[in-house]
């Protein structure tokens, strides 16, 4: 079952696929996120969130990155598979 949702509301340790970005995002902001590896079609997994949930640690392209919740709201996902944390 495929669901569209944003990265900030993704469940921990669930693998998603990036499908796109918020349409309100400027070309420049989108390009910056892509430069960091957030590209449509890539797999992504949220590893943990900070104490108040404002910062997320994600695993993408064999790399652990941290991203702010407000930036994560601009990244649209769909579920790939559930509970597959290795």
């Amino acid at each position: 079952m495929l669901n569209n949702l944003t990265l900030d509301s993704a469940q921990l340790n669930t693998v998603y696929i990036i499908t796109g970005f918020n349409s309100n995002l400027s070309f420049y902001e989108k390009e910056r996120l892509q430069a960091y590896g957030f590209v449509a079609g890539c797999s992504i997994k949220v590893i943990r969130k900070s104490l108040f949930g404002n910062t997320l640690q994600v695993f993408i392209n064999n790399c652990n990155l941290i991203i702010r919740k407000k930036d994560a709201t601009n990244i649209i996902l769909k579920i790939k598979q559930a509970n597959n944390y290795a």
């Binding site: 996120l33 590896g37 652990n64």
Partner: protein
């Protein structure tokens, strides 16, 4: 000479390769943003001399260069289009790093590919060979696999560089695009079927479960900061006395005696011995503290924990409009505000750098510590440890409040996507960290010396001569004292009495160098006979040996139970008669309230002139002036409001009302300036063309 440049993402290992090829010890780190400028050196490639350049790590070569690093690299490429660019990629993140390689090819640069850190993954040789074949075929460039750390593959790498320089491959124009999604598809096609295990991942995940635990991370984080401070202060306490004595002997007493032998004019002795020699003595005494801080912060960075600190700190810093990366700069400010300025270079937005530096003055640098200890130990003896910690805490709290105020007024709220890489943990390289810290301290002292020594020499002269140009016996009649007396009434609202011009003098000298404050106060409040004349006789060797013997005694006889007690940190400059000194200070400063108000001012007011110089280099003179004047105003307002409240509630409320009104007016002015000029201040550079920001 052939020119070769190393290009790649942060943490790809470019500097390690640079060091391996040039046999240098340039600083590497386990945190993105370590290399902040282009370093060049000569390297020998199979008896061929080349000029090798290590470019800062960047995330993108696309249309906008927003960080200083990308600006530096973009400009470098524009100025050097014919270089051989070695695109260094980390094999563990090859899918992401190859994007930059494709961007470089899209710019029709002469590129070869170095796949680095092969030792960090477990991968079969068959897969490696297949990957190499696909990369060579699809990209049309030479590909080598190398490990800068273990030196595997270095000879093949060197041979490939030589081959590319002597027989450069023809560049296929316009074969590649700069579009990231398109490049991602191509990279995914190349790496399809590639599988490997990253060796450090399992351990990193386990450690992160503890260090980044939602509830444990913040206490652990502050615990680490506390331990760093504790170690720094104890080492300072152990070494400062020895260095102060030895430096005083060789740079002050010895020149005085030599100049006395040749009957040099008194003013020459003052300038050379007390001024320049005293300046060197002052500077050297805080070398241990700077070195210790750089070593400890360097070790933290090398392990990979610094990036985790950014994760933990970001939760707090984003509330005041700063990225988590700024935490590293602010932490460096605990050592030296000038180091904080240098650290800001890794922040992408100009406004982030400005905001970080505008709140940095109240982050207590290491040079402020002797002043805190001086006052807290003498005046608040029973609670000196707590009071010193309170000074640090006040500085940090004020920095947060200041940041909130400025992020809502002077600086825009729009911010770039905040993304930071968390590298895998690794064992720190103690030797490299120590060497790099020593180089840093050396460079720091050299730069600082050029500013501090002449200024201290000038101050010493101004403190020794009157307006009539004559050398004075009584320091009260010196130019500096007279000037301080004129300025002192300005500080009456914060509890400095008119006759306490010495406090004003110490604030002026504190602007020159914070650590001079203790020497200034000691010399004007508690003058000693030894300070007024040249030493009668010197026996350098025996005196030096005696100083080291005393130091050795202090090490072996030290009560290590008091290592957690800040009282044990610095006692060397204080005499036994603490009670007498306390009475003098309390009388001069109108009680403990006056002393505390003075300390509040000291915590918050402008950094030293060296730090201001570094700030000016980083964000420009106009902004540096704003940093200085804003911090002095803040210091005065906080100290005054506090002191007035200690006089009476009415006094306090009136003072608060006045300052709240002033702050409100300033808020409106800042806000209007931001609306009018904010976008102009935030300028992005398209290569060769300046554009406005978002």
């Amino acid at each position: 000479m052939h020119k070769v440049s190393l290009l790649g993402y942060p943490n790809a290992g470019k500097t390690s390769i640079f060091n391996a090829l040039t046999n240098l010890n340039k600083k590497t780190g386990n945190f993105a943003g370590v290399t902040v400028s282009v370093a060049s050196a000569t390297a020998n490639i199979n008896n061929m001399q080349i000029q090798l350049s290590d470019l800062p790590g960047i995330n993108s070569l696309t249309s906008f260069a927003n960080s200083k690093d990308e600006l530096v690299v973009g400009k470098y490429i524009q100025d050097n289009p014919n270089n051989l660019y070695i695109s260094v990629v980390n094999i563990a993140q090859i899918n992401k790093h190859l994007i930059l390689t494709l961007s470089a090819l899209a710019k029709n640069l002469n590129v070869m590919l170095a796949v680095n850190m092969v030792d960090t993954v477990t991968i079969s040789t068959v897969q490696l060979a297949e990957l190499k074949r696909k990369l060579s075929t699809q990209l049309g460039i030479d590909v080598v696999f190398v490990s800068a750390k273990t030196k595997n593959g270095m000879q093949d790498f060197i041979n490939a560089i030589q081959n590319n320089l002597t027989n450069p491959k023809p560049i296929t124009q316009n074969k590649f695009t700069n579009d990231i999604p398109t490049n991602t598809l191509l990279v995914n096609k190349i790496t399809k079927g590639l599988s490997f295990n990253i060796k450090a991942s399992y351990l990193t995940n386990k450690i992160d479960k503890l260090l980044l635990n939602s509830y444990l991370s913040i206490p652990l984080f502050f615990g680490v900061i506390y331990l760093i401070l504790l170690a720094t202060m104890n080492i300072h306490g152990l070494l400062s006395g020895l260095i102060d004595s030895v430096a005083g002997l060789y740079f002050v007493d010895l020149p005085k005696q030599l100049l006395g032998y040749i009957n040099a004019p008194a003013i020459v002795t003052i300038i050379l011995a007390d001024g320049i020699g005293g300046g060197i003595q002052t500077m050297l005494t805080f070398a241990p503290i700077i070195f210790t801080l750089f070593v400890l912060l360097g070790l933290l960075e090398d392990t990979g924990y610094s990036a985790r600190q950014a994760f933990i700190a970001d939760e707090m810093l984003q509330k005041i409009g700063l990225p988590g990366k700024a935490f590293v700069s602010l932490t460096l400010g605990l050592g030296c505000t000038a180091a904080c300025s240098s650290g800001c270079r890794t922040l992408e937005r100009e406004s982030d750098r400005r905001l970080t530096l505008m709140i940095s003055p109240s982050i207590s640098c290491s040079a402020k510590l002797p002043v805190y200890i001086y006052f807290c130990f003498i005046v608040f003896t029973a609670h000196s440890t707590l009071m010193v910690f309170l000074m640090y805490a006040i500085g940090i709290i004020f920095a947060v409040l200041n940041g909130l105020y400025l992020s809502k007024s002077l600086f825009t709220n729009n911010s770039l996507p905040f993304v930071v890489e968390l590298p895998n943990y690794r064992l720190p390289n103690f030797t490299a960290v120590a060497k790099n810290s020593a180089q840093k301290v050396k460079g720091f002292l050299q730069n600082l010396g050029k500013i501090i020594i002449p200024i201290i020499a000038l101050l010493t002269v101004l403190n020794s001569v009157s307006f009539k140009g004559k050398i004075v016996e009584n320091p009260n009649q010196s130019i500096l004292a007279q000037t301080s007396s004129v300025l002192t009434p300005l500080f009456i609202p914060m509890g400095i009495k008119t006759e306490n011009w010495q406090a004003t003098l110490s604030l002026i000298t504190g602007f020159m160098a914070k650590e001079v404050v203790v020497a200034t106060l000691n010399s004007v409040y508690f003058p000693t006979k030894e300070e007024s004349g040249a030493p009668t006789s010197l026996n350098l060797i025996s005196q030096t040996l005696a100083m080291f013997a005393e130091f050795g005694n202090s090490i072996f006889n030290k009560n290590y139970n008091d290592v957690f007690d800040y009282n044990g940190a610095v006692n060397n400059t204080l005499s036994d008669d603490i009670n007498a000194k306390r009475q003098v200070l309390l009388q001069k400063f109108a009680g403990t309230a006056g002393v505390f108000a003075f300390l509040l001012f000291f915590v918050i007011y402008t950094p030293c002139v060296s730090a201001m110089g570094a700030i000016s280099q980083e964000i420009g003179k106009a902004w540096a002036w704003l940093v200085g004047s804003w911090s002095v105003f803040n210091a005065f307002s906080i100290a005054t409001m506090y002191y007035q409240f200690t006089l009476s509630l009415l006094h306090g409320l009136v003072a608060t009302l006045i300052f709240v009104t002033i702050y409100t007016v300033i808020f409106i002015i800042f806000k209007n300036l931001n609306v009018k000029y904010g976008k102009q201040w935030e300028s992005n550079f398209v290569f060769g063309k300046k554009t406005n920001g978002l």
